[in-house]
Symmetry: C2
Subunit: 451 residues, 2 copies
C-alpha cells in the first residue's frame, strides 16, 4: 500500500545544506519509491487529494506534533567488517598490523563454523539496523558458506547490504587465507552466484568484490578482481593508506605501482563503484587519481583514532572532488553506530585543525551529509538513496528525541529550535531515539518495531 | 542496616592496576563505610560468620552469577557546569572565548529564575547519577538562590557534590557578572552559610570556592578567595590554560603573575584541595608549581576536542606527580557521562601520540583509574573514596552488561574474559548498564532503582 509520511523531515541537499522541513509530507508508492515531497502541507488528506491519491488507497505515518521527532534518511555504513563485531572495543594499544594478528584473524577464522556466522551476523544486522543503518557495505570472511549466510540474513531482515567475501591470497596467516589464486576466484564467484539466486536484481543485497587490501593479495588476484569488476559492473571495496607501516608494506610488495592508489589503478580496481576505506596518508597525486576515477572514500574516524592510524583530511578530499562517506570500520572502530561515527568525524576534524589549519573543521551539517548523501555517493546509489527527493527510495528513520528513557534531555525553550535539537541528537542520541527504520518502504526495525 | 555485597568487583588500586575480583564480598556498615573486602569468598553467609556478623543483622546484594555484571566504584566528575547542561552539544565552530559569549553566558544568566534552576539542576543530577557519577564538582552560576537550590537538590537526591557559586567581577558581560567585589564576597559567604545549615559536616554537599577563571576575576577577588580557602580549608575550583587566547588574556590582565599558574599561586589559590580544569597549555614550570602545591587537574577531553582547545598531556602531568581526574566539562563537553569521557580520554591520548610520542597513550586501566581514584585524589577525598578498600565509603555502581536493551553485545566465548568485558563496557556501554548506584551506602539511582 502507498504511504504518506507527515511531520518534520530533516535531510541533506548538499554538503552544507541540511534542510529542515516542518509540516511536510512525503508520498511513497507501493514499491518504496518517493513520489512527492510537499513542503508546508496542511494535512496528509489535503496532500493526498492534491496528488489524486483516493481515500483508502494509502496509509499515514505521522510524527507526534507534541514530540521532538523527525524523519531522517537512513544511514550508510560504507565500511564495516560484520565478522569482527564481537571485537568492538578490543584493540588495546595495538596499531593496524599487530591488531590484525592479535585480534582480527583469530576471530575471522572461527567463521568456518556456520553457528558462529549465524550468531554474529544476526546480531550485527540487528544492531546496525537498530542504529539507523539502512545500507551497509559489509566485509564477511574468506568463508563462502558464512558469507552467503550474511547475505541471506540481510535479505531476510531487509537491510540493504553489500556483501564482501574477503580475498587474501598473500601475506596472511596459514590458518586464515586463500590457499591459492584459484580458491579465491572460485569462492568469489560462488558468493556472486548465491546472491544472484536469492536477489536476482540486487535490490537489497549485492555482491561486492573485496580484495582485503593490497598487502594481502597477489597482483594476479587484484588484476582478476579488477577485470571481473569491469566485466560485471560489480562494486569493489578495499582498504587504502590507513597506516604508515602498511603503506611501506604495499610499496615493497607491489613495486609495479607508483603509489598505493596506483597499485589498485593498474589492476583495474579504481572504478566509480569502488569504496576505499581510510585514505589517511594519501599523496596529492593519489587524491587526484582517485578523483579522476570517481572512486569513493570511506572515512572511519573512530577506527583511525583507536588504532592511532592518523587523521583523514576529509575537506581536502572533498575539495578535490573525491566522494566521501562514513564507515564504522567495526572492529578497528569501536562503535556499530553511524551517529556515533559522525560525532567522531566532527571531533577528529578538530584534532586535525589543531595542527594549525581551521579549514579542516567539519560542521554538524557536514558530518550528517557524509552519513547519508555522502554514503550514497560512495556506494554509487546517489540516484536512488541518501535523502527524500522524489524518485528515491524510502530508506528512513524516525528519530524521537523525547522518547521514553531518551539519552537526550530537551528543555522547553529548545523545542522550537531544530538546529539545536539536531546538535543534541548528534552528540548524545543513540539507538533509543531510533523509533522506526524503513528500507525500501518497508518497516524493518526501531524501538517501536514489532513483527 | 549493614550490607554484604557479593559477586564480581572491579576497581583500581594504582594507575595501571585494575583489579578484578570474582566471588568477592564487601561488608558495609550502617554508616556506609566498608568494613571488609574478602576475596575468594564462598558465600555471603560464610563471610558474615567469619566477621561475626550475626544472621539477620545484615542484608545481601549479590550480582547474578549468570549475568555479565560487576560492582564498580562510583565515578567522579571533577568539572561540570551544572547550569550549562541544557547546552550539551551546542557549540558550533566556536572556541572558548566566543563560545562563552554565544552560548554560555546567556544561558547561565537565566538562572536568576529559580524555576529554570529547579528544572535544569534536577535533570543534571538525575542524568549524571544515572550514569554512575556519585561525586560531582559543580559550577552553578552567579546567583545565590539558584546555587543554594543546587545544593538542596543534590543533598535530597543523595549525590555527593561540591557546589560552586561562580565568582566573576571582571571582564564579564554587564548582564551577567558580579557587580562588585563586595557582591561576589557576600554571595560566596551566603552560599557557604546555606550549605553549612543543610549539611553541617559537609558529608554529602560541600561548598567549593569558585573564581570562574583568572580572566574573569580581579586580583582582589582572587586573593580574597585564596585567603578564605586558607582560613576555612574549603576546596577551590577554577580553570587554567584551556585555550591559547585565554592564556594571553590572563597574561595581559594579571601582569603580576609569571604564568597563569603563578597568578593563582600568588593569590593563594593553589592548595591541596584545588581543582584546575583543563591544563592544556601548561609550561614545565607551571607543571612543577602545581605538583609542588599538591593541586589537581581535571582533564576534560570531550570539551578540549569539541572547542578545539588542544590535547592535554595527561601522562606528562602524572609523571611529575600532578593528580589528575576526569571532567565532563558540560557543556564545553557534550556528554554528561564520565564513562563516555573516559573513552574520549583514551582516544584523545592517541591523537596526542600521533604527533610522534607513543608514551602519551592511555590504556583502559588508566582512564578508568582517572575516572575513579584519580577523581578522588583531585577532590581530596582519596582517603574516603575511589575504590573498595576497607575504611572507604560505599559509593558504587552495579554494572550489568547483558541487561535488557543493553548497548553492549556479549558473545558466549567472552563471558569468562573480564578484561574484554570491561573494554566492551568502556567503548559501547552507557547508562542502560548502570543498574544500581549507591552513595554513602544508600541506593540512590540506576535502572533498577525505584523509590
Amino acid at each position: 500500500m502507498r504511504t504518506i509520511y507527515f511531520g518534520t523531515f530533516v535531510h541533506s541537499l548538499t554538503l552544507s545544506d541540511l534542510q529542515v522541513l516542518p509540516s511536510a509530507a512525503v508520498g511513497v508508492d507501493e514499491d518504496g519509491t518517493i513520489e512527492f515531497l510537499d513542503q508546508n502541507a496542511d494535512s496528509p488528506e489535503v496532500v493526498a487529494e492534491k496528488h489524486s491519491w483516493p481515500v483508502g488507497s494509502y496509509s499515514i505515518v505521522s510524527t507526534d506534533p507534541a514530540s521532538a521527532s523527525f524523519f531522517f534518511p537512513g544511514f550508510f555504513d560504507t565500511h564495516i567488517h560484520a565478522s569482527q563485531y564481537p571485537n568492538v572495543g578490543l584493540f588495546g594499544k595495538t596499531t593496524l598490523l599487530d591488531w590484525l594478528n592479535t585480534y582480527t584473524f583469530p576471530l575471522e577464522s572461527s567463521f568456518a563454523d556456520l553457528k558462529v556466522a549465524d550468531s554474529v551476523y544476526s546480531r550485527v544486522i540487528a544492531r546496525t539496523l537498530g542504529n539507523g543503518t539502512t545500507t551497509a557495505a559489509y566485509y564477511a570472511t574468506v568463508h563462502t558458506a558464512g558469507t552467503n549466510r550474511l547475505a541471506d540474513l540481510a535479505l531476510s531482515v531487509g537491510q540493504r547490504a553489500f556483501i564482501g567475501r574477503c580475498c587474501m591470497d598473500a601475506n596472511s596467516p596459514d590458518y586464515y587465507c586463500d590457499k591459492s589464486l584459484e580458491e579465491a576466484q572460485k569462492a568469489t564467484l560462488d558468493v556472486i552466484e548465491h546472491i544472484k539466486k536469492i536477489d536476482p536484481n540486487y535490490d537489497i543485497v549485492c555482491p561486492i568484490l573485496t580484495p582485503r587490501f593490497a598487502a594481502s593479495c597477489t597482483k594476479e588476484l587484484l588484476s582478476w578482481l579488477g577485470k571481473l569488476s569491469t566485466d560485471t559492473n560489480l562494486p569493489v571495496q578495499t582498504h587504502i593508506s590507513e597506516n604508515l607501516l602498511e603503506v611501506d608494506l604495499v610499496k615493497s610488495m607491489h613495486p609495479f605501482g607508483n603509489s598505493y592508489a596506483d597499485v589498485y589503478d593498474k589492476c583495474g580496481l579504481l572504478g566509480e563503484r569502488t569504496i576505499l576505506a581510510h585514505a589517511v596518508h594519501l599523496t596529492e597525486d593519489e587524491r587526484a587519481l582517485i578523483a579522476r576515477r570517481g572512486s569513493g572514500v570511506s572515512h572511519c574516524p573512530a577506527s583511525n583514532s583507536a588504532l592511532t592510524s592518523g587523521e583523514t583530511r576529509v575537506k581536502w578530499l572533498l575539495d578535490a572532488g573525491v566522494k566521501v562517506g562514513l564507515g564504522t570500520d567495526v572492529s578497528g572502530g569501536f562503535t556499530p553506530s553511524i551517529l556515533h561515527t559522525a560525532r567522531q568525524a566532527l571531533l577528529v576534524s578538530r584534532h586535525l585543525s589543531m595542527k594549525g589549519d581551521e579549514s579542516h573543521k567539519l560542521s554538524i551539517e557536514e558530518v550528517l551529509y557524509l552519513a547519508t548523501v555522502g554514503g550514497a555517493n560512495v556506494c554509487g546509489l546517489d540516484n536512488k538513496l541518501g535523502n527524500f527527493l522524489p524518485g528515491k527510495k524510502w530508506d528512513a528513520q524516525l528519530i524521537t528525541l523525547d522518547c521514553k528513557d531518551s539519552p537526550v534531555d530537551i528543555f522547553p525553550w529548545e523545542r522550537e529550535k531544530p538546529e539545536d535539537l539536531i546538535a543534541k541528537w548528534l552528540f548524545n542520541g543513540d539507538d533509543r531515539n531510533v523509533t522506526k527504520v524503513w528500507v525500501n518502504g518497508k518497516l524493518v526495525a526501531g524501538t517501536a518495531f514489532t513483527l
